[in-house]
């Protein structure tokens, strides 16, 4: 698996550089940064294509009934602060509220074997959501994280139509409660951003992976797909793994072992 | 500087209001002895109100007369209208809800206004008939308006000014207090030209705005057979 995907990554990097021109331009090199206020933490140096962040999900370790990763993501990104609008249908609301990660339970049609796995944005290398977005609000950062610039998203939902993983959510209602680190408002589309705010401040972790470990399942391994010595590549090497809908050739950043 | 501008605006406002009132009273006092609506004309007062509304809002007659002039003329006036509404934020406190909502459209209006003016001006050079009837003053008024528009847009998009101070300045004028006006050259230019515009308004072709409402061929009801229409001076003839 590793051998199959990594060289491709490497080879495509130049292409990516061009495609993500916007990204490159936005990373103003040599920006002079001042610290005015002692309270503000030192700003970080910006993202680069030296990394490509990814996850490995070991479905065999993912426990039935556990939702720790989902809960952690909800808290981390303020999703738990959404509230059902008065008068909305309960079931419809479940289908309308934003969900960045969901717990999926499958049964093999032949063997009847049940598999559990968390499903979030797969951070495709060739993301259909980015291809279709008319304004370029859906974009891929240099470090491979696919996310939505909600300042330019017009809420057309075309990316949701395009995503094969149903990874994206539209904010259907007004949002009153929000966290400083996770702004959110009616009318835009959003999805898992691999906890970008953590990475940007130098912390190599995601809330979901942390939570899974905290629960003791260790089903989620986060890391840099480009770092041969990093934990992710090591884990990938240990376990046979694949991508969901590998047939589409999107080269996702999230890999699954055991399906 | 602020004092000069304060004085200027008091003067300009006085000229505008007094001059315009004077003109309107003069129009209203002058009798229209004969029924001369351009027919087909409405036969009721409501109909006339609708006709005038269509003229004011859509420039209906101009549309029939000249499509190009209409496009640019209408762009300019509608833009000007939106800009004026947007500008009310400097003059009203608190700013009424509709004016708050109109704000973003005012900017489009400003752009449309300048494009429209450019089109109208271009026509004065390009169409020989229009060139023939154009006087220097026609060019100057267009130049004035276009400069006002451009300086405004520059402030909006390039060199920002201190809106708070501007508003404060005009709020102060209401109560006779002169606050400092930000000394931004563009703003000062903008305001100077606006004052000029206010001063020339009652003495130039800009009188077309009130004029339209007093134009007998547009504002008369077509009912001469049903209702006798007699001017006071004509009544005197009958008494002889």
């Amino acid at each position: 698996m590793k051998n199959e995907s990594e060289p491709t990554n490497q080879g495509r990097r130049d292409f990516l550089g061009a495609a993500a021109g916007l990204t490159a331009a936005a990373v103003a090199p040599g920006m002079v940064l001042h610290t005015v206020d002692s309270e503000a933490a030192a700003p970080t140096g910006g993202v680069s294509d030296a990394h490509r962040w990814g996850l490995l999900v070991d479905t065999s370790k993912c426990a039935d009934g556990c939702t720790a990763c989902v809960d952690a993501c909800d808290q981390e990104n303020g999703l738990n602060l959404q509230s059902q609008p008065l008068g909305d249908d309960e079931l419809k609301w479940q289908n309308q509220r934003a969900t960045w990660i969901r717990k999926v339970k499958l049964q093999d049609n032949l063997t009847g074997q049940v598999t559990n796995l968390p499903l979030m944005c797969q951070h495709c290398e060739h993301p259909p959501c980015v291809d279709v977005c008319p304004t370029g609000a859906s974009f891929k950062r240099a470090d491979g994280i696919v996310m939505v610039d909600r300042h330019t998203c017009i809420g057309c939902r075309y990316c949701m139509m395009a995503c094969p993983y149903k990874a994206r959510s539209f904010i259907h209602e007004q949002v009153d409660q929000k966290l400083t680190r996770a702004p959110r408002g009616k009318g835009c589309v959003e999805s898992c951003n691999l906890c970008a705010h953590r990475l940007d401040t130098g912390d190599i972790s995601t809330a979901c992976a942390d939570a899974c470990s905290a629960e003791g399942h260790q089903a989620l391994v986060f890391g840099d797909l480009k770092d041969p010595t990093g934990p992710l590549r090591q884990a990938l090497a240990k376990k046979p793994n694949r991508q969901i809908r590998q047939d589409l050739g999107l080269n996702t950043g999230v890999r699954y072992a055991g399906i | 500087m602020s004092d000069v501008y304060a004085g200027l605006f008091y003067f300009a406002a006085f000229v505008l209001v007094a001059g315009l009132t004077n003109k309107v009273i003069q129009y209203a006092r002058t009798p229209a002895p004969l029924k001369i609506p351009t027919t087909p004309a409405p036969t009721t007062k409501t109909g006339v109100a609708l006709r005038l509304t269509r003229e004011v809002v859509f420039f209906e007659s101009l549309f029939r007369g000249s499509k190009w002039t209409w496009i640019f003329g209408w762009m300019f006036h509608f833009g000007l209208f939106l800009v004026t509404l947007r500008h009310l934020r400097y003059f009203l406190e608190p700013v009424p809800m509709p004016i708050q909502l109109i704000q973003p459209f005012g900017i489009y209006g400003g752009i449309a206004m300048v494009i429209g003016l450019a089109g109208l001006w271009g026509r004065r050079f390009l169409v020989d008939r229009v060139r023939y009837i154009t006087a220097l003053s026609d060019h100057l008024i267009l130049a004035l308006l276009i400069t006002i528009g451009l300086s405004g847009l520059m402030m909006r998009f390039v060199v920002h000014t201190d809106i708070m101070r501007v508003k404060q300045f005009f709020q102060g004028l209401y109560v006779g207090q002169v606050y400092t006006l930000p000394a931004d050259p563009l703003l000062l230019l903008h305001l100077l030209l606006v004052a000029v515009l206010m001063i020339i308004f009652p003495y130039s072709k800009l009188l077309h705005a009130p004029g339209l409402f007093f134009s007998p061929s547009r504002n008369q009801v077509d009912n001469p057979r049903e209702q006798r229409h007699l001017a006071p001076w004509a009544r005197r003839l009958e008494q002889d």
Binding site: G45, L179, D203 | -
Partner: protein, 135 residues
């Protein structure tokens, strides 16, 4: 009216905010009055696309410095009537939809502010509580 407070430059700053105790804004006040939105807009793109956080012109920075507090020490929404942003924006009728999405009081703060320090694990278990360090 808001004007009453606006006799002097700087009067929009809420007395209870941190800014009241600081000498200067991130740029000269005259400049901020005219251009603050250009600054944050520029910062916005750098953050979103470049992942640069906690920089000088960040919106969360504005909020944390300018937000006012009531007697109990709870922050008051910065876009509430009469509060810092609104005191101007209402007066000049400038729409500001940033707070459709952005938190109006420092809440959970950005990851970088206080939490990052407390959260120095490369991988592995992280104290969840820290991430929601509300003020």
């Amino acid at each position: 009216s808001a004007m009453a407070k606006a006799e002097e430059v700087g009067d929009f700053v809420q007395p209870s905010s941190k800014a009241a105790a600081v000498e200067n804004c991130v740029e000269p006040t005259e400049y901020m009055r005219r251009n603050h939105f250009e600054l944050i807009r520029h910062q916005r793109d750098e953050t979103v696309y470049g992942g640069i956080r906690g920089a000088k012109h960040s919106l969360s920075g504005c909020v944390s410095c300018h937000v006012g507090y009531d007697r109990q020490g709870t922050p008051i929404e910065i876009d509430a009537e009469g509060q810092f942003c609104s005191s101007c924006h209402d007066y000049a009728a400038v729409e500001m939809n940033c707070f459709d999405c952005h938190a109006t009081v420092p809440k959970g703060e950005a990851w970088n502010h206080e939490v990052a320090a407390a959260h120095a694990h490369p991988t592995g278990a992280a104290p969840l509580a820290a991430t929601s360090a509300e003020r």
